[in-house]
Symmetry: C2
Subunit: 318 residues, 2 copies
């Protein structure tokens, strides 16, 4: 636990399950972490953050540097964005307010092209990176997070002020080092677009089917028909990635499928979004990949069917 003044200051934009988990872990590792909150500001200011982790045990952060407004935050060198992709337009001003000059903005979100949207809303002076979180985590109450398994973050560089490629890669490695210091696995990826496709191999089947079939991972992995459907959807993601120029590692889909069969029963974030009548992240996880693959000549018909079904449910739900 070292806390020197040369360490980067970290801001968490959107302290839900993802932002809360990584922010708490980084703060407990000694980093100077500042949390932007909205509805949970009072609860977290008073009671702190509480993480019930099946991996790390019960961890708390009693004195949270919490803010209701980004204007009150000190300038942060790294901003970790854990908000939903459906709210990216709204978080851009907060990022700008909380960012130190030349700061690194790391989007801890799923889906494709999420940085492209946000880029136009940020000043050119900020570096933008994407992070793919392989983790089973959810909110259980105000300031309360349940962590069931995993935690790795794969990071890739998107865009920022001109610098050579090796400087960008070092920046990615600095990000990975932050997580390493907090005991979290993190891999620097040389291609963010490929990293995002890779993560879609999990999100496309499990997020959508959890809503469509009202089912968590255990029943989905126990039924022969949902298993075949999951594998069919995964195969289409791999084909889409290939069409877009990204050869995923051989056996990657099968490996994710097997791991999911062995992990604790899990409800993906989209399931919680649906139950709590929030907008589903359909644009980032479905519409963008469908459009990108189609532009590269690859139809993904099962994913398209799933997307339309989810869009109907999402519209009926709100």
């Amino acid at each position: 636990m070292n806390e020197s003044t040369t360490q980067p200051r970290i801001g968490i934009i959107g302290t839900g399950a993802i932002g809360g988990f990584y922010g708490l872990m980084l703060a407990r590792a000694g980093y100077d972490v500042h949390f932007l909150l909205r509805s949970e500001f009072s609860a977290v200011s008073q009671n702190g953050l509480r993480l019930d982790s099946q991996v790390h045990g019960l961890l708390t952060l009693e004195h949270v540097q919490a803010y209701a407004s980004a204007a009150d935050m000190p300038p942060c060198d790294w901003l970790l964005v854990g908000a939903k992709t459906t709210g990216n337009d709204g978080v851009a001003p907060a990022i700008v307010q909380a960012a130190a000059p030349g700061a690194n903005v790391l989007l801890l979100q799923n889906g494709l092209g999420v940085e492209d949207d946000l880029r136009g809303l940020l000043p050119d002076s900020l570096h933008l990176l994407g992070g793919l979180c392989f983790i089973c985590v959810h909110r259980s109450g105000p300031g309360e997070i349940v962590h069931q398994a995993f935690g790795a973050v794969n990071i890739g560089y998107h865009s920022g002020p001109a610098e050579d490629a090796s400087a960008s890669l070092r920046r990615v490695e600095q990000g990975a080092a932050l997580f390493h210091a907090a005991g979290i696995e993190s891999v620097a990826m040389d291609n963010l677009d490929k990293a995002r496709w890779q993560k879609l191999v999990w999100n496309v089947p499990y997020n959508g089917l959890s809503v469509l079939l009202k089912a968590s991972t255990t029943p989905l992995m126990a039924d022969p028909d949902s298993r075949e459907l999951i594998q069919g959807l995964m195969a289409e993601v791999v084909q889409g990635a290939e069409a877009c120029g990204h050869s995923l590692p051989p056996g990657y889909a099968q490996q994710l499928f097997s791991v999911t069969g062995q992990m604790p029963d899990y409800r993906p974030s989209m399931y919680h979004d649906y139950v709590e009548k929030r907008a589903l992240e359909l644009e980032a996880i479905y519409a963008r990949p469908l459009a990108a693959a189609l532009a590269a000549g690859c139809d993904m018909p099962k994913i398209r069917a799933l997307y339309h079904a989810l869009a109907f449910l999402d519209r009926s739900n709100r």
Copy 2:
């Protein structure tokens, strides 16, 4: 209304919405109609059948020739089978018991290959035909049927004792004439397999999506995503039919789509089956067409995804 002794005697096997509607209409047209019932035997014996039709008005059949056992039925020249395809193994003995020598068995069911299964359970002396009902009808209570729209029956010949093709076609035309006499549209089809594929253009999207999205036709036709999904599924049925050697009339799918947008709000039979926790007719409406198309080199990926999703829901539901 003529009731001569030369008229065929008609037996209804499975007096649900379909069997009840057509049986009542034929009885009111003067035919000698005998109804086999199970759970509704007492109610129908005592109170008769009641049809609330938005086309024909309120019609009743007060004195129903109702039977709890096929063994008690007189030998019938035509047997109209309105039972679910999921129960075909169980209805075969009833058909055999109620059939006059050389009788015509008309399966008023949806899906593909339903006659093939039943054929093996029937004596060679019986003629087997298939009927595709274009009708919006449902049970609203014991012996009570609501008819919202349409009613046409397309009939095709399947198999039976050796006779020349023109004799089989005359048999189909006799069947159509029964319905005509009751004021019901009926077309003699020269190819039953094609007629079944044609009907699937409607059943594949609407039956399945009514369960998957818990929605009747009006909301399904009002939403841009479900509209696109319906059209995508219809297009795959047309491709599957084509692969199996059946060119459907140009614009057929678009026509069914348009008609459905104009008809009264309707919940397909599969929706009622799901809500009442009955087995869904997935084998006849999805698995058989998928297998037939695949054997002909045609994948139908959206239909396959829908099928797997429905099979998961069906298994969870019972």
